[in-house]
Symmetry: C2
Subunit: 427 residues, 2 copies
Amino acid sequence: MFRKPVSRRDMLRLAGASGVGLLLGGSGAFGIMAATGATKQPASDKPGSPDNVTTGIPDANRYDFYGQHQSGITTPSQNFMCFASFDLTVSDAAGLKSLLQAWTRASASLMAGELLDGQNENLNLPPADTGEAAGLTPSRITITFGAGPSLFDHRFGLAGKKPAGFGDLPPFNGDNLMPEWCGGDLGVQICADDMQVAFHGMRNLIRIARGSAVLRWSQEGFQRSTESDPNKATPRNLMGFKDGTANPSVQDAAMMNEVVWVQPEDGAGWMTGGSYMAVRRIRMRIEVWDRSSLSDQENTFGRYRVSGAPLGSQHEFDRGDMEAKDASGKPVIPMNSHMRVARGDGKMQILRRPYSYSSGMDNTTGQLDAGLFFISYQRSLEKQFIPMQQRLAQIDALNEYIQHIGSATFACFPGVRQGGYIGDTLL
Amino acid sequence: MFRKPVSRRDMLRLAGASGVGLLLGGSGAFGIMAATGATKQPASDKPGSPDNVTTGIPDANRYDFYGQHQSGITTPSQNFMCFASFDLTVSDAAGLKSLLQAWTRASASLMAGELLDGQNENLNLPPADTGEAAGLTPSRITITFGAGPSLFDHRFGLAGKKPAGFGDLPPFNGDNLMPEWCGGDLGVQICADDMQVAFHGMRNLIRIARGSAVLRWSQEGFQRSTESDPNKATPRNLMGFKDGTANPSVQDAAMMNEVVWVQPEDGAGWMTGGSYMAVRRIRMRIEVWDRSSLSDQENTFGRYRVSGAPLGSQHEFDRGDMEAKDASGKPVIPMNSHMRVARGDGKMQILRRPYSYSSGMDNTTGQLDAGLFFISYQRSLEKQFIPMQQRLAQIDALNEYIQHIGSATFACFPGVRQGGYIGDTLL
């Protein structure tokens, strides 16, 4: 009786004067966030250009779904993440395609901050949108899809398209993997500056998948919210150290082509413009860490805790002097320190995009199940992530304080062109 | 070698020009949040006055620890929560007192946004502060402590001080309580606008408790962040409905004395100025809910989903016409609707302060373990929460879609006076 269709966008428009941060949409326009201020400008309905840069009216805290690359990879990290791994219950390519098309439609709406409200008026049907994000901004939500190695088995006729060198990660020294945190036919990383918006995205994708795929595992993650950090500094992990200092700059497009985006010469043409994702659920032995001395902690990372600078250096982004010795002739940056081992010869990089997680108490130990939900993106798992992780697994001093309990890899599709759907280069 | 002690406060001061929201400290100054803007004003070191209102210099996003009442009860809800329930391993009053004194010191620092950095300079000792909140604002963190019924057993000589009528909640119809989500000697609710700041508080309290108490269970919670909500509207739960519309106003001090704060005439003098907390971990059958029609959903709550208005009314805060009938003579607001049953005769209120939770996939069902971490505060569990919950458990239409799987009660102490410690009126 007082019912009218209301979209999240309508609500934004109604609330236009109350001060919403603005973002020039598009994953090509990193960090171009206007100062927070009042605006009466309605959100644009203009679709993004193919390279994912909205050149017209700035939009409210949103990225375009369509573009050359998927968003959520070189997009500056949002505050929160919901990750969902799915196993397909359909068993042919038609079923898979139908799911990916439905997810495409939903993702475009979710990223635009629109209600999935096609059926919203019909009292006799379930609402098309579960409603918990109504009235909220898009909160820079990104939704990133990838295919797990198992997608290339016999079921979908895709065995011939499996990229060379793509598969589950090899066993690493010290792994304590639990099957319930590993693998999946399809992986979906949903990030947003608002936890409820991210959850809403995940929950609706699960819902849409009903009858086509089931949830295999899921994990929520967080970092410090940008609002709480006056310096917008490098976020700290739950060990109290800055995490991501050595990351290549996502604003350096040439670097991203070098490190992250699959190039035509890399083979598996359907992946050109995509990226390979490595996922590791890394539990921290928080109680052991908290009992170790500051000196041990800093030698473990090879960095000062407060500043994040390499040991012996002054500033966080100093490169660090790998040759420096202390008075007793020992390297100032220990040979087995995390930063030294991760760097290796410095020739191979990855793009780290991790989140912290805290999943309550582990009932078997009485300790917090908390740590790092590690995600990285790279052109090649074989050339980039795997050799780095093999080094780390062998000698990283950090291994005393962590345990890898989950693992997955996903071949993240290139971006979707207008009229296309997620994974259409593969199917 | 480039080491200097740095407090979170120092970092704020350094970062003074970058625009930190201001809050007039004190749980008596609800919602007095100045517009976000640049400030060079250093955070005040002046302790709060006894009634918890800082009358001097506005401080950065923080509440005072000391005051008449504990913060985190009538404080406007922050974006995030970490809840921890502890069991004591010390077995006498001296050990309990010592823990509460240590928690008092830590909580005063945490709420001021200071590092627990007494030992920060000593390389040979573990850092006193775990560091993951360094550089972040206090983010309106509040820490609220309460005593569970088991604290009044034989161990601490407190049996004679157990308030009349305080105990575990009685069994309710439909309960499916799991021991791992129930009870505890001490309960701590930590809320903040930043998840990492809240986690940091919980983790350090757990650490400080080592040797005195162990974690019994813990739960993280969230709601939409205020930054994502241009209208600052009533938050929605994971069923998509507004949650908290019927709450009494925390700005109405007389109402809070009536509903929330234990009064001298209530007995158990040590609780005067405190409040009784009811905790219920309520799992939502999300998949069943999502398949129910909009009409069923709205009849279940007795409200419209989009506006939150009572059925038959236009605005969220309309009282609702309980006598209205539809054309067929049926009540417009169904007799078993949640809002109607919760209201009862309208004479008894509680202060609800719930958070949503999402704890990944339940491996036994393959469905999301998500729902509502219900917390309410009241002067009397017997007179307020219990009769309301008994009504709801009998006939609330919502019961088809939820299951209560955790339960706890805590007698939350009055506020701490300068020089005192948490629980000093009891011990």
